[in-house]
Symmetry: none
């Protein structure tokens, strides 16, 4: 009472130097840092990447190593994801028949067309590739599974946010995400119109948008309520002839529809 302990409520407003975090949160930050980095990392660097003390990081890493959620790589103290992660992830992607059916379709479409096929979705406020089958050529157009990409850069993104109003879109998508990697910017109004169009026509296409050499086409996979959680997507060379594109688009829409659960 004497020392105004009642103000304690307000005390820690600013996260200042001596910040103490929960182990669980450290674990989450650590795993996402590893995912972003996409290569083994030394513990010291990991500590910097997640802004944690070295001693804490060692403690956490050792726990995760023991659980095989991480494993050491090489002999110089590098660590990366471990076997348990593979098992957990496998469990996730096979736990329901629907997802398995989607993966089978992915395989089949890749085999039939020889093109790159992707399954896409949202993760937080970004677009991610959830799984993919790359075209068989020695050089391919592809993007890494799990890497977060701004929604406006992608055809799938336009479908995945189709249920949102313009106001919702404005608050959902970071302003910076309208800037393309080559410096160009997409006008938000144009993007909103694209989203509207994608919703009406039931598919979305982009050409040379995030890149100069890709033509992307996406079709929605709807859940039982008609909502779009996933999209099926072709990533083609931008110079693919129009007749072939149309043919592929038809296939894509048909397969995506076949995977949708919406009755009706």
């Amino acid at each position: 009472m004497s020392d105004g302990a009642s103000d304690l409520i307000e005390a820690g407003a600013q996260p200042q130097g001596g910040e103490r975090r929960r182990g669980i949160d450290r674990v989450i930050m650590l795993l996402e840092a590893l995912l972003r980095h996409r290569a083994p990392v030394r513990v010291g660097d990991l500590a910097k990447m997640i802004g944690a003390p070295r001693s804490t990081t060692y403690e956490i890493v050792n726990s995760l190593l023991e659980a095989e959620m991480l494993e050491t790589v090489g002999s110089e103290g590098y660590v990366y994801f471990g076997r348990s992660m593979h098992l957990f992830g496998w469990a996730y992607s096979h736990h329901n028949a629907h997802y398995r059916r989607i993966l089978e379709t992915l395989d089949k479409m890749a085999a039939e067309t020889g093109e790159t096929v992707q399954l896409c979705g949202l993760r937080g406020h970004k677009y991610v590739v959830l799984d993919c089958r790359d075209s068989p050529g020695p050089f391919r157009i592809s993007s890494d599974v799990g890497v977060e990409v701004p929604i406006p850069w992608t055809a799938s993104g336009r479908l995945l946010v189709g249920h949102m109003s313009e106001a919702e879109l404005k608050s959902f998508i970071p302003a910076d995400d309208y800037k393309l990697p080559d410096g160009r910017a997409i006008a938000p109004q144009d993007f909103f119109r694209d989203v509207e169009q994608a919703r009406l026509q039931g598919f979305s296409e982009t050409s040379a948008l995030a890149d100069r050499f890709t033509w992307c086409m996406a079709a929605p996979i709807r859940d039982g309520h008609g909502a779009i959680n996933r999209t099926l997507c072709f990533v083609l060379p931008v110079d693919t002839p129009e007749p072939r594109r149309n043919q592929l688009l038809d296939l894509l829409r048909e397969r995506a529809k076949g995977l949708s659960l919406a009755g009706g």
Copy 2:
């Protein structure tokens, strides 16, 4: 005396009621319990399965849900592995032991130029990518590390066989390898001339060869005897402007030379 409070020191031998555990350990137990169960579980049951208090379990589950390491299934409070697990597991299973052999130069060049950089070599009678740094865009031109590709399809291949005579080349390279993926065929004589030219000028370039959308340039990394075992290589979009190509070629040759062991 009745309850022997003084024996408290010894009390905890048996893992009895008042056991307090670290959040991280709870997380690990929780995930392994889910894996064993192989189906979505309600939070209350999860608490029993891992022997944790309900309140703690809710706390932990909510953290993991927020991180998408878990996700709710159905509308009755069931949870199971989430999307992040899939991404972590994918990263694990696509992480190949060779990735550890990354050269600093590769990192630096990729960072400086933003282009796709590869380290290439021969494996048997084929060309392989030994390591690579991909350009940062969401879609990229790339090829899989370790996948064998016919030597005549690549710029690096022209350098890597530079020490062979025409007769040696004829027996070294399978006849089928002159056929490109799109059906065209390279005339062996043209290829031999390319190899000769690459040897004389100390680099090699190909455009739209194995693909319609790539421009490849390769420069030799020589071992202590001056032999070419490895090449450094840019994989560019085929429409990269010539001035930039020249600039990148200069950089490539300089760095490759810097990595060469051949004494002056």
